[in-house]
């Protein structure tokens, strides 16, 4: 039987990607392969599997590999996924928002593997990757820092206006990029705030 292929790009919308994969699984399609924009599925029993999408760009290639191995050992299947669309070959990225190893992302390496798709065979028990509030805050912080850094980067670009004259169109573009990154940063900052509020009372 021929596998089903679907073309999608979700970028930083982790929950949307997760919902889509779970909808596919509910219809009886199990993920077997991902490329930059393509997802390949094979037939399975409807709702046999469920998926979570996790941001792992704050991990060095070695840390990410160890984490994957740990998950696979526990019986989950994992796929890496890109968060950006970028088609040149061979690249290096500096991720100043990362703590310690992992600041330098290369391709091949940790670049284009910013996300991890985790598959679990449904067993009636809840499936969440992060359950402890402290751990959840740490996870949201890695996302917030990534977006915040990018947002501030583009916003600083706007400040160049004070020193040299920049075409209006460029300014608008810089502003748009800043907003695109700062909105998710605010979203994750609020998520952190909510967990922290609960944490004052509950563990």
């Amino acid at each position: 039987m021929v596998n089903k292929k679907a073309f999608r790009y979700f970028g930083g919308f982790l929950k949307a990607q997760e919902r889509w994969l779970n909808r596919m699984a509910a219809q009886g399609f199990r993920l077997v392969r991902t490329t930059r924009m393509m997802y390949e599925f094979e037939r399975c029993a409807p709702s046999e599997y469920e998926y979570r999408v996790e941001f792992i760009a704050d991990k060095s290639p070695r840390q990410a590999q160890e984490y994957r191995r740990f998950l696979e050992e526990m019986g989950y299947r994992t796929f890496t996924k890109n968060i950006n669309l970028n088609y040149s070959i061979g690249k290096i990225r500096w991720r100043p928002w990362v703590k310690g190893a992992g600041q330098i992302a290369t391709y091949p390496g940790s670049y284009n593997k910013e996300l991890l798709i985790v598959e679990k065979r449904k067993d009636g028990k809840p499936f969440e990757l992060h359950t402890d509030p402290e751990d959840l805050v740490r996870y949201y912080q890695s996302l917030r820092n990534a977006y915040l850094f990018n947002g501030v980067f583009w916003a600083l670009g706007l400040l160049l206006n004070f020193f040299v004259s920049i075409p209006v169109a460029v300014s608008i573009l810089l502003g748009a990029f800043a907003v695109i990154f700062l909105v998710p940063a605010i979203f994750y900052a609020l998520a952190i705030h909510h967990v922290n509020e609960d944490r004052k009372i509950y563990e």
């Binding site: 740990f70 998950l71 402890d132």
Partner: protein, 111 residues
């Protein structure tokens, strides 16, 4: 960070992972141990468990068990220091339970 200054209380996750490792155990075994012992009340996410194991390895409260590295599942075991921490936590919880029982039961008796 600030939370730890108060009294060194372990998080429930930390304490349960330590308890699960009084005998050699691997990730999946730890998860099952916690689910069974709490009858499903506490279900640990694999990402959280991974973070907890790494943090405890860093503290030296647990250590890898056995030599086989690549082929088999990684096993972990609590260390002497880990046992000391767990015993201290048990004492703290007993004290807390004692106080709570006195007050909650006490107020119940009066009515």
């Amino acid at each position: 960070m600030r939370d730890h200054v108060k009294g060194g209380a372990l998080t429930e996750t930390t304490f349960f992972v330590l308890l699960a490792l009084y005998r050699p155990n691997h990730g999946y075994g730890i998860m099952q141990f916690i689910e069974q012992e709490t009858k499903g009340r506490l279900s640990l996410g694999p990402g959280t468990l991974y973070g907890a194991i790494n943090a405890l390895l860093g503290k030296g409260w647990i250590a890898p068990f056995g030599e086989e590295q690549d082929s088999r599942k990684k096993l972990y075991l609590i260390t002497e220091e880990g046992r000391r921490v767990a015993e201290k936590e048990l004492k703290r919880l007993i004290e807390l339970c004692g106080i709570a029982r006195k007050i909650i039961k006490g107020s119940g008796d009066g009515e």
